[in-house]
């Protein structure tokens, strides 16, 4: 953090000085995104925060534009979406960007979460930073669910029905919550109207929590693949240009994947049934949620009891927030944890397997497999995390971040970066 003092923003012009003494905004941006010291060993998994920020922006902008043409009523919703697709100039592009943007948002957030779990980014002193991330994830799930109901197709309608019935399983207050969400005696016109309002509200709440998330990040500093803190200025490089360029480059590469879906497979991640208008008399033969909810859907169905399934499904998300205290190991990065590293990859495989099972019909072997995977999912947090930390012998940690990059005993010049580049990154050496 010593880089802070030496690279602090100093306003030069009279106008800049006048403004800075009244609102130190430029200085804040400079210390957060220019001079901010970044561990020099970050890999590309650390670019997903920037990718997620980009997608929050894309979703908000395309969403505001879609709202100019969308009609939030049971009668008009389906037709207005078709109107966007057929009549509005570039409406198809706005809608496909918004729909596939949601999926890409979840792809990025899952990489981001698994990265945090692998490198122990949730451990002290980053617990609050990490829990804010879980809060953002919960808000994202709520927003995605609300948004998926808005086209008012068959999957929208029955998704809304199933999820609001899940809430009705909550003891005592469940029926009241359900009635307040419905605004009637069943999913209907008042429901789609208020879901639109809430779908518009939640992204701004996400943006608010993202500000807290980034603030907390800049208080504790970034974790890194070695999982050891910055000890000297040689361990760090300034955010600009190193992290800025890397983040932008990774975002652009990720946009290629996004563009491929938008332009070549815009409906691959959706369901054909959602192009059938909502019909409260017929449930689609095979009802499944969007892919990003499938693991939790599998957990819900693994339990042959309504309330039990609902409790387990919510617990599967909430348990993430307890990881900082369930993991007893003092070593952050799984690179130096030979046993935990294997359990981690089993956990990733189980999550994928749950996702696959969530898309299968709820019968026979699929149910048994879901039950086994659900048990393992919770065992990872409740058994593996506490015990592994107690019994595992970690491998030797590098002495510093610099050493993890250059190998022990070598100088900065061996790192492939000229001496002094970190101190004066904008001048060519």
């Amino acid at each position: 953090m010593s880089a802070h003092a030496s690279n602090a923003y100093v306003p030069k012009s009279r106008l800049a000085k006048w403004f800075e003494s009244r609102l130190p905004l430029v200085g804040l941006v400079h210390s957060s995104f220019v001079a901010y010291p970044v561990p020099r060993n970050l890999n590309y998994f650390w670019t997903f925060g920037a990718i997620l920020s980009a997608f929050l922006g894309i979703q908000i902008i395309t969403g505001v534009w879609l709202a100019m043409h969308y009609e939030p009523s049971a009668k008009g919703a389906f037709d207005s979406v078709e109107h966007i697709m057929r009549d509005v100039n570039y409406g198809w592009l706005l809608r496909y960007m918004h729909a596939n943007g949601a999926s890409m948002f979840f792809v990025a957030v899952y990489v981001h979460i698994f990265r945090a779990l692998y490198y122990g980014s949730y451990k002290a002193p980053r617990e609050v930073l990490y829990i804010l991330g879980v809060v953002i994830y919960l808000l994202m799930m709520a927003t995605a669910f609300l948004g998926y109901t808005l086209p008012w197709g068959q999957m929208s309608f029955w998704g809304a029905t199933v999820i609001t019935n899940i809430l009705a399983a909550i003891p005592v207050v469940g029926d009241t919550i359900q009635s307040l969400l419905w605004g009637g005696y069943s999913v209907g016109n008042p429901t789609v109207n208020r879901f639109f309002s809430l779908h518009f509200l939640l992204p701004w709440m996400i943006a608010g929590v993202v500000v807290l998330h980034v603030w907390a990040l800049h208080v504790t500093g970034q974790n890194n693949p070695a999982g050891i803190p910055i000890k000297s200025s040689k361990d760090a490089v300034p955010f600009t240009p190193y992290a800025t360029v890397k983040d932008v480059f990774a975002t652009v590469v990720f946009m290629i994947l996004f563009a491929w879906f938008v332009f070549y497979q815009p409906n691959y991640l959706g369901h054909a049934d959602n192009y059938v208008p909502a019909n409260p008399a017929v449930t689609p033969a095979h009802i499944v949620p969007e892919w990003y909810f499938l693991p939790f859907y599998a957990i819900l169905r693994a339990v042959p009891d309504k309330l039990g399934g609902v409790i387990l499904m919510f617990s599967a998300v909430v348990i993430l927030a307890f990881a900082p205290w369930l993991d007893t190991s003092r070593v952050r990065s799984a690179n130096y944890r030979p046993i935990y590293r294997q359990f981690f990859w089993v956990f990733v495989a189980v999550c994928f397997l749950l996702g696959w099972l969530g898309a299968k019909p709820p019968e026979g072997g699929y149910v048994v497999a879901s039950q086994i995977c659900t048990a393992y999912y919770f065992a990872h947090f409740l058994i593996v995390m506490p015990l592994c930390g107690l019994y595992e012998t970690p491998t030797k940690l590098p002495g510093s971040i610099l050493e993890s990059v250059t190998g022990p005993g070598k100088q900065v010049s061996g790192a492939g970066m000229p001496v002094g580049a970190a101190a004066a990154p904008t001048t060519k050496g």
Partner: protein, 191 residues
């Protein structure tokens, strides 16, 4: 707050409540009541509005065109309701089911109206998560749910999970042998 007004001499008795303490408590209580009073309209506005309630008035259903074994869909308050004319065989089979073996025990007689045992009127949404079960399917002459595999028998009793309870009966009454009124039980409107 109170002890900022005047520095009490060391060793003095605990300071008495001041006017500032009184104002603090009174303002706090006023704010709490005010916040609750303001929050209430916001929450209450989300419950079913007058138009929705009015549209939930009872409906009449003509049973005459329904043939043996047929199931028809009707909507009351936006909710799907099945009206089913049971066949003689279904009536006999359903009466023979031992009540003690059911997950949600209910005798045949409690599922139909006295003197109209051929007619079943039930809500058409699965008691698990609200999907519409498919009629004349499953192993119990009744419904099976495509979403999570629950099965109901010919009088809507749950026979296989994960649904926790039988399909509920809406309030209804026979106006004549071929006409029912859904939404009222014995002349009383449903709440």
């Amino acid at each position: 707050m109170a002890n900022t007004s005047a520095a009490a001499p060391a060793g003095a008795a605990p300071p008495e409540a001041t006017r500032r303490d009184f104002l603090f408590l009174a303002t706090g209580a006023g704010l709490a009541v005010g916040a609750g009073a303001v929050a209430w309209p916001f929450v209450a506005s989300m419950s079913p509005d007058a138009a929705t309630v009015a549209a939930g008035a009872p409906i009449e259903v003509d049973l005459a065109p329904i043939s043996d074994g047929q199931i028809i869909n009707v909507f009351w308050r936006g909710k799907l309701i099945f009206v089913r004319k049971l066949t003689e065989k279904e009536v006999t089979d359903m009466k023979a089911v031992p009540v003690s073996q059911l997950a949600d025990p209910a005798a045949f007689d409690s599922r139909v109206k006295n003197g109209h045992q051929q007619w079943l009127v039930v809500y058409g949404n699965c008691t698990h998560l609200g999907c519409v079960p498919i009629g004349h399917s499953g192993s119990f002459e009744g419904w099976s749910c495509p979403c999570h595999g629950s099965q109901f028998d010919a009088v809507g009793r749950v026979r296989r999970g994960p649904a926790p309870t039988n399909l509920p009966l809406p309030p209804y009454a026979f106006q004549s042998d071929t006409k029912i009124r859904i939404g009222e039980e014995g002349g009383k409107a449903a709440a």
